[in-house]
């Protein structure tokens, strides 16, 4: 017990409609670098939140060894006081402040008069920057720095603390190039030498083999196993992560692709993707896979006229220029965005308005809406996608994730589009609703519609796609037909998606 730093005991966490964690238990030793792996939705992020005290487990508890006493952190501040620090996946910074201010946020050095000691602050910051081989001025405003540098600032910020016991890195290398990754690894090694424990989350298994002592695998919210790193290989890890019955839910009917609906040629923007080519045919699901930052969503946003790009788009063989989302809709393309709460739904408004939101023109004349048609259509499409709700005046914000997503899909269907882009359609959606969403997709392809599916969840995208396009670093690194996809193993796709050459 003495040499343990963290105990996770029988932790379960439920969200409406989803079991995020189911009776997870494991321990971490002092000075141990532990990898935490699992597919998206395996429960890693929820577990981190429980460790940081940001979320309370519904059952069980997470406790840590603080100078020989076992304590439970009830919030992030307390966790930090006890020496637990987390580096989150999304870079957490105060945009408008300088690097030094970000380092010392809420903890600025003061002089005898209680006034911020800028000189000292900048000097201390310079030391840290130097230590991490970052050649920047601490007075530089942080939002002027490239994303990778910003990520390094948040990582190096941890080194400012002197009571570090446990550090959690959540996908720290997603934004880093090789050279910086090496600096990060040196930092982790130095932490380990000081007896600090590390939890390291990454999709890049080779990194885990390099840097970690042991690995814990989660799958669909349940604990699979913990092994010393010597005992596993990449293949073993993947089979542990994936190792489930390839259940029937991905087993939809596939159709013979018909005529070409959409062709994208030489698509590039200035920084997120370049030289993208693909086609979508009638009745076809084209899957896009890639790691965070591979540029998949950016391609689709550009396609819908949401950002600047160069290249050509052909719809039904006719060259076209899509200026904005309204234009895209008129030309038969509907976009289900990744963040439904932010981009897809008006949460404070009722289901009926949300469903009709795109298409009020179709049920109105001279701008005057037919209220009866509004209700009729909302009901009709609710039924079509099976939104579970007592009535259509229910506010969307009160629905579960799965039902919210179905409302978004209903909204798209109202326009009867030819091409639907589904960006991570099943994130935060429970298994039952997932299956229903797949059935809707099958139904759509059976009607000859084309679907572009972006998903980070490999079984899903591999099971559903008629064509699979792999992206890495803004480029296409793999393009597989249905026959090839059925023979592919997930590790092949992962390899392809972490293609170094593309970076």
């Amino acid at each position: 017990m003495e040499d343990l730093i963290l105990k996770v005991e029988n932790v379960s966490k439920y969200y409406p409609g989803v079991t995020a964690l189911n009776n997870v238990s494991f321990t971490i030793k002092k000075g141990e670098v532990r990898a935490l792996v699992g597919e998206n939705g395996a429960g890693k992020s929820t577990l981190i939140k429980c460790i940081m005290g940001v979320e309370r487990p519904d059952t069980g508890h997470v406790s840590m060894n603080y100078n020989g006493e076992w304590v439970i952190n009830t919030d992030a501040l307390e966790a930090q006081r006890h020496g637990v620090f987390a580096n989150y996946q999304n870079v957490n910074i105060a945009d408008e402040l300088s690097v030094a201010e970000n380092y010392f946020l809420g903890n600025q050095p003061r002089n005898a008069f209680g006034i911020i000691d800028w000189k000292k602050m900048n000097e201390e910051s310079s030391k840290i920057l130097h230590k991490f081989s970052m050649d920047i001025d601490p007075r530089e405003k942080i939002n002027r720095l490239p994303l990778a540098m910003q990520a390094m600032v948040t990582i190096s910020k941890i080194a400012l603390n002197d009571n570090i016991k446990l550090v959690i890195f959540d996908e720290p290398t997603a934004l880093l190039e090789n050279e910086k990754t090496k600096i990060l690894f040196d930092f982790i090694k130095s932490l380990k030498e000081q007896g600090v424990s590390v939890i390291y989350i990454s999709h890049r298994l080779e990194e885990i083999m390099d840097i970690c002592d042991s690995v814990t695998v989660l799958k669909d919210g349940t604990y699979v196993d913990t092994q010393p790193i010597e005992n596993v290989s990449k293949d073993i890890l993947i089979s542990m992560m994936v190792g489930r019955e390839m259940s029937d839910i991905y087993n939809i009917r596939h159709f013979k692709p018909g005529k070409e609906l959409l062709r994208v040629e030489n698509f590039s923007d200035d920084d997120n993707f370049r030289d993208i080519n693909f086609q979508v045919h009638e009745g076809e699901i084209v899957g896009f896979v890639g790691l965070v930052g591979a540029g998949r969503s950016e391609v689709m946003r550009a396609l819908c006229g949401l950002s600047h790009k160069t290249g050509d788009v052909y719809i039904r063989e006719a060259k076209t220029d899509i200026k904005n989302p309204a234009d895209a809709m008129e030309k038969g393309i509907s976009f289900l965005t990744e963040d439904r709460r932010k981009d897809g739904l008006a949460l404070q408004l009722p289901i009926s308005i949300n469903i009709n939101m795109n298409s009020y023109k179709m049920i109105s004349s001279n701008g005057v809406i037919s209220l009866s048609k509004e209700i009729e259509r909302a009901k009709e499409f609710c039924k079509k996608v099976n939104v579970k709700t007592p009535n259509i005046s229910q506010l969307v914000g009160n629905l579960s994730g799965g039902n919210q997503q179905k409302v978004v899909i209903a909204k798209l269907l109202c326009l009867n589009p030819d091409i639907l882009i589904f960006d991570e359609p099943t994130v935060g959606v429970d298994v039952g609703a997932k299956e229903e969403i797949y059935k809707i997709m099958e139904d759509l392809t059976s009607q000859g519609k084309g679907i572009i599916l972006i998903s980070s969840y490999l079984p899903e995208v591999m099971g559903l796609s008629d064509r699979l396009i792999v992206m890495a670093g803004g480029q296409v690194t793999g393009d597989f037909s249905r026959e090839e996809v059925t023979k592919l193993r997930e590790e092949d796709v992962l390899l392809c998606a972490s293609h170094e050459a593309a970076v």
Binding site: P325, G344, A346, N358, P390
Partner: protein, 322 residues
């Protein structure tokens, strides 16, 4: 899965607020009628309605803007501008009275449009943009009026301020109610109305739904300008002249009326009927208070408490949902 609930109404969202407001208003009305000598008199009831009318129109405009997640504190200033432009034109030119009315309204629409332009194109927060424009407009009004009260209004306008239907319902109140009904119908039955709430729920959501967000911002603030223009004419009629400080202090009352009526400052919520009741409640508290012989400063405090209470309720409601 859907039951037979056939009557979806946007006002369901605010039903609770409206019901409460009606109870309070009726209660106050009865109390004041029974316990004071002058409250329930033709003169006072007419006066009450006049007091409601101008603030009422501004509050309707505010409701539109608040439902998009914005706020407009230049309403009083634009009202004052419209009033002053009208008075100057009628005093100093021989223009037809209808032409002067139209010019006053057009000037107000332009002022509102400029607000919309600054807010959308320069991404200035509505509060700051309209604070700026309010200050500019107040300056302009003082320059064109040489900071003096302008009288010499057309007789028709003067009559409008004095006349009442059946000697009970003032013309000003009829205009207020007409404006409220029109905007109520617009919010309930038009795409424009739906788009307001969608924008209020999230500009990105609206943009991705194919709503022309820029056009919406321009038209929302221009429409508010139109209503301020009308309010300016009403102000001229009520005061029988144009003051260089005309319309000052109206904005906070209008915002308060909308918020008390259930409009949410975080956007996506707000109804004309709620605002109507909010306006009446604000005015009735003051009017009845005076009849009860309460100190007007105490009444100010009461109104303030009411506003804080209404906003707190709104925040609590939102919190529960998240």
């Amino acid at each position: 899965m859907l039951n037979k609930d056939k009557t979806f109404k946007l006002k369901d969202l605010a039903k609770h607020t409206e019901f409460t407001l009606i109870i309070i208003i009726v209660g106050l009305f009865i109390l004041a009628s029974v316990f004071t000598e002058n409250f329930f008199s033709t003169y006072n009831i007419t006066n009450l309605m006049k007091q409601c009318a101008i603030i009422g129109v501004l509050a309707v405009a505010q409701t539109i803007i608040i439902s998009t997640g914005g706020i407009d504190i230049s309403g009083g200033a634009i009202t004052g501008l419209s009033c002053m432009v009208l008075a100057l034109l009628q005093r100093d030119t021989n223009l037809n009275v209808f032409v002067t009315l139209i010019i006053a309204v057009i000037v107000s629409v332009i002022a509102g449009f400029i607000n919309g332009f600054i807010i959308h194109d320069f991404k200035v927060p509505p509060m700051i943009a309209t604070l700026g424009s309010a200050t500019i407009i107040r300056g302009i009004v003082k320059i064109i009026s040489k900071a003096l009260t302008v009288s010499g209004l057309n007789k028709g306008i003067l009559d409008m301020g004095n006349l009442s239907l059946f000697n009970l319902i003032p013309v000003l109140a009829i205009i207020w109610i007409a404006v409220a009904i029109i905007i109520f119908l617009v919010l309930k039955y038009t795409i424009f109305g739906r788009n307001l709430y969608i924008i209020g729920s999230g500009v990105e959501v609206a943009r991705l739904s194919g709503i022309k967000v820029r056009k919406m911002f321009y038209s929302v603030y221009a429409l508010a300008g139109l209503l301020y223009g009308i309010a300016g004419i009403m102000l001229a009629a009520r005061v029988q002249s144009a003051l260089p400080t005309g319309g000052e202090g109206y904005d906070m009352n209008a915002i308060a009326a909308a918020v008390i009526g259930g409009a949410s400052l975080s956007g996506g919520r707000g109804t004309v009927s709620g605002t109507l009741l909010g306006t009446i409640l604000m005015v009735i508290i003051n009017n009845a208070g005076v009849q009860f012989g309460l100190n007007t400063h105490i009444l100010e405090i009461t109104s303030g408490v009411l506003i804080v209470f209404a906003v707190t309720m709104d925040m609590l409601k939102n919190r529960v949902k998240k």
